[in-house]
């Protein structure tokens, strides 16, 4: 494993960290673009598999960076990518929380809170489209996606029940 790949991992993930307004969904589009199209670290379907793994595993979805780092540069790559995805945003949060408590009356407080929301919304939907393109989704997957989103929005069914059902159905169809 050479240092150049580790440095490149840090340079790709650290800026993404600071852009992930509203959570990891926001940067999935750019992460896919960088790892697949620009650096050719993996194929689109491989990225989609990593996305699925990071979604099925406990913990934040941004842990997909650990999988990408491992693929690119082994165990050290996993550690470097994970640190790069969490440290910049964590420092920003720490600073913001201190500022937040020091500026109770500032009109900037509400403006910041409301101004970041549309950015987060736009990026989250862009992320959904990026993963669908990367995965080269078929009709069955699109139906599953819409069904899952509908169930999550309109019912109280847990995401794990939905994932288990989807895994079962997709495996069964493969066997047939």
């Amino acid at each position: 494993m050479n240092d150049g790949r580790l440095l490149l991992l840090a340079l790709v993930f650290a800026p993404l960290s600071l852009m992930s307004f509203g959570g990891g969904q926001a940067i999935i589009a750019d992460m896919q673009h960088q790892t697949v199209d620009i650096h050719h670290w993996m194929t689109g379907p491989e990225f989609a598999d990593f996305f699925a793994l990071s979604r099925a595993a406990p913990g934040p979805s941004t842990l997909i960076s650990a999988l990408i780092g491992w693929k690119v540069a082994g165990p050290l790559g996993a550690i470097v990518a994970t640190l790069a995805i969490y440290i910049p945003s964590s420092l920003a949060v720490y600073g913001a929380v201190r500022w937040w408590h020091a500026s109770n009356d500032s009109p900037w407080r509400g403006a910041l809170e409301r101004g970041l929301a549309p950015v987060a919304v736009g990026l989250v939907f862009a992320g959904a489209v990026a993963v669908m393109q990367a995965a080269q989704v078929n009709a069955l997957q699109i139906v599953t996606t819409l069904l899952a989103a509908g169930l999550l929005i309109f019912t109280r069914i847990g995401v794990y029940a939905i994932m288990a059902a989807a895994a079962f159905v997709f495996a069964a169809l493969q066997w047939l």
Partner: protein, 189 residues
């Protein structure tokens, strides 16, 4: 609303911060972390009161970074300063980090089988559904024409036209905040 509540205990040890956040990190899955943290921090341990928790959640949702990690930084640094924030975040990330690498190992061993690929395809589809769900939930904060326009512009430019995200965000985020600050002033909540 006062977020400087003085009722919080400062006698929480770093080890118990790591332990509590590790447990939440393992047991919580995408989207449900806030609920688990609420139960653990507000209901079970009383480290934060409810109002403070909601404020923390809002701040952590809009700032960059994974929400569960941000929340652990917030709560940890409230209770024990910067080192507490680091301990809580370490506890939150470390166990899932190990788990996902184990999953990744199995993927490289068995990922080539058609059944494994089909199952991952199904899980990815549900994962995208979750992303849509989170997006829909977030839209409740975006109700007026100009913010909606900004959200749609970002979606089209980044998601459809595939422009690089970072410059787009660097231009539109300050614009969006400035719009809220000067064009759409509203009493702070």
């Amino acid at each position: 609303m006062s977020s400087e509540s003085s009722t919080e205990k400062t006698s929480v040890s770093l080890l118990s911060l790591i332990m509590v956040f590790s447990r939440v990190g393992i047991t919580s899955f995408g989207g449900s972390t806030a609920a688990w943290l609420y139960r653990e921090l507000v209901q079970r341990r009383g480290w934060l009161d409810e109002e403070h928790f909601v404020t923390a959640l809002t701040i952590c949702q809009v700032l960059p970074g994974a929400n569960p990690v941000n929340l652990s930084i917030y709560v940890g640094s409230q209770l024990r300063g910067g080192i507490g924030g680091a301990a809580a975040a370490f506890g939150m990330v470390m166990p899932p980090f190990c788990i996902i690498l184990v999953l990744g190992y199995f993927y490289t061993r068995f990922g080539g089988s058609p059944v494994a690929h089909a199952v991952l395809g199904g899980l990815a589809a549900v994962g995208i559904g979750m992303t849509l769900f989170i997006g829909v939930k977030l839209t409740r904060h975006v109700r007026r024409p100009i913010p909606i326009l900004i959200a749609v512009a970002i979606f089209v430019v980044v998601g459809v036209l595939r422009w690089p995200m970072i410059p787009v965000v660097l231009v539109l985020t300050p614009l969006s905040i400035a719009v809220e600050r000067w064009l759409l002033p509203k009493k702070s909540t």
